[in-house]
Amino acid sequence: MSLIDLANPTRFLALTARVLPWLAATTVILLTIGLYQSAYAPDDYQQGATVKIMFIHVPNAWLSMFVWGVMSIASLGTLVWRHPLADVAAKAAAPIGAAFTFLALLTGSLWGRPMWGTYWEWDARLTSVLILFLMYLGLMALWRAVDDPARAARAAAVLTLVGAINLPIIKFSVDWWNTLHQPASVMRVGGSTLDKSFLIPLLVMAIAFTLLFVTLHLAAMRNEILRRRVRSLQMMQASQKAA
């Protein structure tokens, strides 16, 4: 089944109905394994048990960027290839991405309290994720501001792609700004020196959360297709009444 076949929404719905239960089941199994492993992961010698927040923070932070990547590809699909499902995919991904970004911020600040002594530090990573969160909210506001989905789709696609080009620039600027304003006393966590006993649960959790996103995304796309059918049927009803 190729991308062209998926352009037919009915075929896409059929595929979703077949795939979704399996995806959901795999997600549940992997999440259980990941949670079990992270519960029994050893304490970090520096951070103690708070390192457990990492297993939930890092997957969400990864998804916050991954979802924007998915939306960017979908936006290319809208603008370049005119794929009929591309804007459905972009629209369905935005709230889910915003939710994961919110979780990354929240767990990051809960992790920061024991580590830095404050809930919010204008740390480079937290700040960039905050800006990313603002951009998700802006994108959602754009989707909500216009009632014609096709018109909103193209505008949202342009904005998503501009955002994708801008995100590395913003990340770089915030890093630079942060080193300018902050003494390098902020504890750096993560990096390549992660021990295997942390790395494996982290990877399992990251894969589990990614699968969770794929599941939710497919389900939300299905809802969006149905919503558009409702819309077109309501318009037909209105025109039948008028005639």
């Binding site: 009915t10 519960a39 457990k52 927040i53 939710a99 939710l216 939300a220 059918r229 049927l233 309501q234």
Partner: protein, 61 residues
């Protein structure tokens, strides 16, 4: 199943609970949305509004 979470147990528990809550809200939103959309499609079809293709809007195959 006793784990010692150290002095910052509340932060760890809160972050896991918040993640669980947000994920549950997402799942609930997706499922309720699906239910309401299929419901509205069914109502529209009962009123005799059909798609141009003549096929059932909620039918999947």
């Amino acid at each position: 199943m006793t784990m010692s979470l150290g002095p910052y147990a509340s932060f760890i528990v809160t972050s896991y609970a918040a993640a669980a809550l947000v994920v549950v809200i997402l799942i609930g939103w997706v499922m309720l949305d699906y239910r309401s959309q299929t419901q509205r499609l069914r109502e529209l079809e009962e009123r005799g509004i059909t798609r141009r293709s003549g096929r059932n809007a909620t039918e999947l195959r």
